[in-house]
Amino acid sequence: MKYTGAEILMRSLLQEKVEVIFGYPGGANMPIYDALYFYGKKFRHILVRHEQGAAHAAEGYARVTGKPGVCLVTSGPGATNLVTGIADAMMDSVPMVCITGQVAAEFLGSDAFQEADVVGITTPITKWNCQLTHAEEIPEAIAKAFYIASHGRPGPVVIDITKNAQFEKAEFKYPKNFYVKKLKTVNKFNSGDIKKAAEIINKAKKPLMLVGHGVLISKAEKEVLQVIEKTGMVAASTLHGLSSIPFDHPLYVGMIGMHGNYSPNKLTNSADVILAVGMRFDDRVTGKLSEYVPKAKVIHIDIDESEHHKNVRAHFPLLGNVKDVLKSLMPYLKKNNHDEWLGDFKELDKKELEFEKIRQQKNKNKITMNVVLSLLSEKTKNEAVIVADVGQNQMFSARYYKYKNPDSYITSGGLGTMGFALPATMGAKVGAPKRLVFAVIGDGGFQMTIQELGTIMQEKMPIKILLLNNEYLGMVRQWQQLFFEKRYSFTHMQNPDFINIAKSYGIKGEQVMERKKLEIALDRFINFQGPYLLEVKVEKEDNIFPMVATGTSVDDVRLE
């Protein structure tokens, strides 16, 4: 029996056990939407308000489920609107399959209505992409797309399907075997490498583990704990590694990087062994690269060979899935403890705490972002999923929410996409319906994708939006204050009445301006059944510290 290309696409997506599609119809994907009309009961289709929202929602879904998020958009502007989200997924290793409609094959290259070279545009920001001009090509391309997006280091894939291929009829046969090179053999470490690495760890006096996103992607949280508990190794996390180790683990010393904690930044350069686990030594983590980890032997576990030696030269690169490498490493590790080394961290933690206290004293009756996040953490028993936007709100969420369970902190780390949080929260809620999911957003980022309130309304998504409003683009303002002599160039924002905006979307909203009303407002916010916007008017010129200023070394981390 023959089916149209659009139906073949539906059947292929069913083969991949797709549950939800974030999409937007248009001229060049109408046959697919027509097929969705009939297959609609088998998928949940969520109509976003802008294609960028679809991409971030797919990312949010992928981040909590580990499965590829799926977007379906039309040609030209539909596809180009996805671009920011695709680039974001590429930077943060998020599995995503984007299906874009394309003008009919006979019009390709003719500058037809809503034609854009989508394969050309998305090549540098995808793991793989292709254009299909015949219905019969669809099954294999979809099978490859899902395989590539989710195997090895995950990433986004774009499948561009011309309109004629959607109409055309062909047999449906879903391939069981198809050729995709290399990704099959992700583990290339051997027992010799493992033994050598273990020996280095066993001899270390000041070993430091740095956990990254790879730990969460490969679900190696348990293995990480086994390794640190056996070796007594101190562990710190990158922004994307957050929530892989529970905040209260005795060997966990907090976050590294530009706005990380004081002790792990200060002491990174004192370590004699760095065990980097599924992280890529981003410039926000390393600070001044030429002064980074001068005394350490670096063991770098990563699934992507091109990450080894890219930024930091590794003495022992271990190529493979984090979980598998750690499992292999375990039997060779000796029971040990490094209490003195851990004590060095605890000593510096006291210093950070002192500053924290002074700060709190100074802001006693004011609402600062750290207070809001600390209270939210406490009131949700540290169990919620926090989807942070970009800027100060992101760093306060990273530092003051106490993450207890894995996959609880989602943000745009690599690309730093403002506007990420609201749509990503929709995807996260769809992927983890039983968990409490909060978007934490500033007034700038909120207005970049605010249109998705419409999606939340239509889909009746019980999403909690915590809007931290300081009437500034806070992080840029902080830099202007610290490095540009307080020249606040175009960072002040005159904002609309956000509560009324929410109201017009049928979303309940509340504004808090006084510290004494904050707690009760948070209670109402958390306990409300359904979508809710809590706008907190926070201190306007509050800063996030500690901070490793650009171009300085991590041990130059400043407390104020």
């Binding site: 394969v119 090549t123 540098p124 292709c130 090179k181 060979e305 091109s306």
Partner: protein, 81 residues
Amino acid sequence: MSRFTVDIIVENRHGVLYRIAGLLTKRKINIERINAYAVKGDGISKIFFTADIEEKIVDTVVKQIDKIIEVIDIKYHKAKL
């Protein structure tokens, strides 16, 4: 900066050369010479290019090219001037 020759075997699909060139563009590497041809009947193509690349990044760039799904094999060596 040293001159390197990179030899690549790829699946013969459209867009592969563009993907390779893109990885070079990203690092502002200019191709000095390039040769590419399809191997008859095998569904593969061979690509050779020569470019001036900083020694400390050449290995990473080559590994990034190697990540391209259609790249089957890649080798590089210093070019004879």
